[in-house]
Symmetry: C2
Subunit: 429 residues, 2 copies
């Protein structure tokens, strides 16, 4: 079915344009989102808490004038349940915080509200955005994991329940579920967005992330979340000149399907006249996986202090992570931070004219079973270097399951990365 | 009066040692803290909320066994009112958040509690840790500002009401009040501590800070707040070999008293065989003041989103800061971040063998009047570079008012900085 035929399959910007042009009403789009949720939520399990259709529409109609004049027109957004909301519980995927009701909205939630989005609900997160999965299934194949930790946000957008959702990433928590569910995911550079009201896990690693159907939607959300202006960004497509292609094995285990997909992309790029280079093993990209793991264990154990006193309510993997962090010599942690920064500098020095890095967004398609959320190693290198990342759908395996690839930019150069992602998106579609 | 003669003038570690040796009881120390508060609080105004003596002692006695076995023995700590506490309001110095009661303790509060500190109360902060002063007076001269934004924490420690207090610094919010009130203040490197539960102002600038009477107390608190172990740190004194002395004028306006004090310290250092060098103007230290201001305006306006919708309840300086940040071209912000990092690299490259930087902690003594908290420019350079800082008392002007100096370390090398601060402390005492 053509995306234009089905309102709630439209991209955010497409829908907003249609609403402005008068060919679509916001209310009908909202209704279709609720239709979709009612039809699919029992199977997908994307939501932890949500507004009823009646409550949503009553609020929308009471404030119709505001929403009609707003940028986001009252369309629904899903918020990962690790991001504070004053009007709904924020339980962080843990029984420790059952019914927890923050007193403030996170700044990202406040910014979306002010731009005219309505929080339809809180989406399922793994336990404290780490490994223990929630109830969410992969919309492409419900027997598979949606990936984590932003499981519900990825599934809700991929399954056409909402046109936009927020997530967060400390290891692979946006890029991996976006890749597994087949939607666009974006993780901002370290320091890019205010993280006020988002549960911190690792201060050197945490990033805000977004899910949408197209890169142009991400650009719009980014404008709102950077509080840059109340109007849509000027969007340009930028064709990269030179790409550093990091095939899976340079980082870690990768499926043969994914390796074949990367070769297909490489051919498409060279066919378009883009120079593709591959890094030598002396760069040490695989080492970044370890450095990331070290930093994460150390910092998580300093952030989840209250929770570590209630370890009978924590999953075993999280207990182990905290124990590892607490037992770690501090020099290991400082060395890992320093080594990651040294590799970032080395990449800049050895590939000064590379526009972006291209790599698999995950080792392959979403694994079967839902007892874990898949391996995070494909994201660890970029996350520990604080780089912005976009994952794009479009490639599939022989069963039609998504094989996500990711485009990685320079630190704090997110705008340019998104312009290049638009070019790659057009190539893949 | 010798500090040992008065229990609540003792340093934290001195008191803990005495309690362990049986020459001091925790309860008598607690009682003296309350005696002091009762005698002085009306004039000093350090506290926003606090436990009554009865409630404190009842809690202590109910949990005596835990406290007797703990590291911090049930001694009282003051917590800046921008740091979340579940058992007391956290109002951030603003009428917007009057009566605000967070659902969780900040991780730093939780760590102190677990180590056996008892939160005596919340200390006065300026409005959102920016410029509008609270009610606090300078204990050295109540007609003068205590400095801000961690006004109450600095005054409470300097006035012997508590042996330890937490603050936070985005510009000069720990170093300046510690200097003005004449106590030891410490600001951790960027990324050093978990900031979970501390109101964010600027993600590239915010740091956790501490106040105590001696550097050894700071080292002890640091161990607790890094969750490094439940025992006291191994403390060593480190004499620096080479110091980069940044006289006030290299950064901005400085009083002649302060300039004279810096020359006295320079003589003391060279007298001890320490090599003292001064930076050339080509380093651009004064530019860092501007870069910091740019980064702060941009980021504050993205963190205080909810509040900026209630500007009739904001002070004029804060409104102006937010407006400046919102009107700023994004490239100005990114350029300022980049320029600050370039200057940090330049300092490392040009002075590879310098052990620490020594500079005035404030332009001079605490200014008269309490309608503002003094100028922050002496802290901006180090804060925008993410460096750890200790301010030390000991120097005074002709009226006996404190002239604080600060020792600045390498990023994430806080331990070494504190060892050198102990040496300088012994030189100044």
């Amino acid at each position: 079915m053509n995306r234009h035929d089905n309102k709630n399959k439209m991209g955010l910007k497409q829908a907003l344009d249609a609403i402005r042009e008068g060919t679509l009403s916001a209310e009908s789009m909202i209704e279709e989102c609720f239709d979709r949720i009612e039809a699919r939520e029992e199977m997908i399990g994307a939501w932890q808490h949500r507004l009823s259709r009646e409550a949503y529409l009553a609020h929308y109609r009471q404030n119709r004038e505001f929403y009609e004049q707003s940028l986001l027109k009252g369309l629904p957004v899903g918020i990962k349940d690790i991001i504070d909301t004053a009007e709904m519980p924020t339980e962080m995927g843990s029984p420790i915080h059952q019914g927890r009701r923050p007193v403030d909205d996170a700044s990202c939630v406040e910014l979306l509200r002010r731009a005219g989005a309505i929080v339809l609900g809180k989406t399922v997160t793994t336990e404290f955005a780490y490994f223990r999965p929630g109830k969410t299934a992969n919309p492409c194949d419900p027997s598979r994991t949606p990936g984590g930790s932003s499981s519900g946000s990825a599934a809700a957008v991929a399954d056409d329940m909402v046109p936009m959702a927020l997530g967060s990433q400390t290891a692979a928590s946006v890029i991996r579920p976006a890749a597994y569910c087949g939607t666009v995911g974006y993780v901002g550079s370290r320091g890019e967005f205010s993280l006020r009201g988002i549960q911190p896990l690792g201060q050197s690693l945490d990033s805000l992330g977004m899910f949408a159907r197209r890169v142009e939607d991400i650009e719009l959300l980014r404008t709102v979340l950077l509080r840059q202006s109340d109007t849509a960004p000027v969007q340009t497509i930028l064709k990269p000149t030179k790409i550093l292609l990091v095939s899976g094995p340079a980082i870690g285990e990768t499926s043969s399907d994914m390796q074949a997909a990367m070769r297909r992309v490489q051919k498409m790029l060279t066919g378009q006249g883009v120079t593709v280079v591959e890094p030598g093993s002396e760069i040490g990209l695989a080492d970044l996986v370890t450095h990331h793991s070290v930093v994460m264990a150390y910092e998580v154990s300093r952030n989840l202090v209250y929770e570590s006193g209630r370890c009978e309510q924590l999953s075993e993997p999280l207990q182990t992570l905290i124990e590892t962090g607490l037992a770690m010599p501090r020099t290991d942690y400082l060395n890992a931070l320093q080594a990651a920064e040294a590799i970032r500098q080395k990449l800049l020095a050895e590939y000064p004219d590379v526009d972006a890095i291209l790599a698999p967004a995950a080792p392959g398609v979403a694994p079967e079973g839902r007892d874990n959320t898949g391996a995070p190693h494909m994201s660890r290198p970029w996350q520990v270097m604080g780089l912005p990342v976009v994952t794009l759908p479009g490639l599939v395996d022989t069963d039609g399951l998504p094989l996500g690839i990711q485009l990685v930019g320079q630190a704090r150069d997110d705008d340019r990365l998104l312009c290049m992602a638009r070019w790659l998106e057009s190539l893949l579609s």
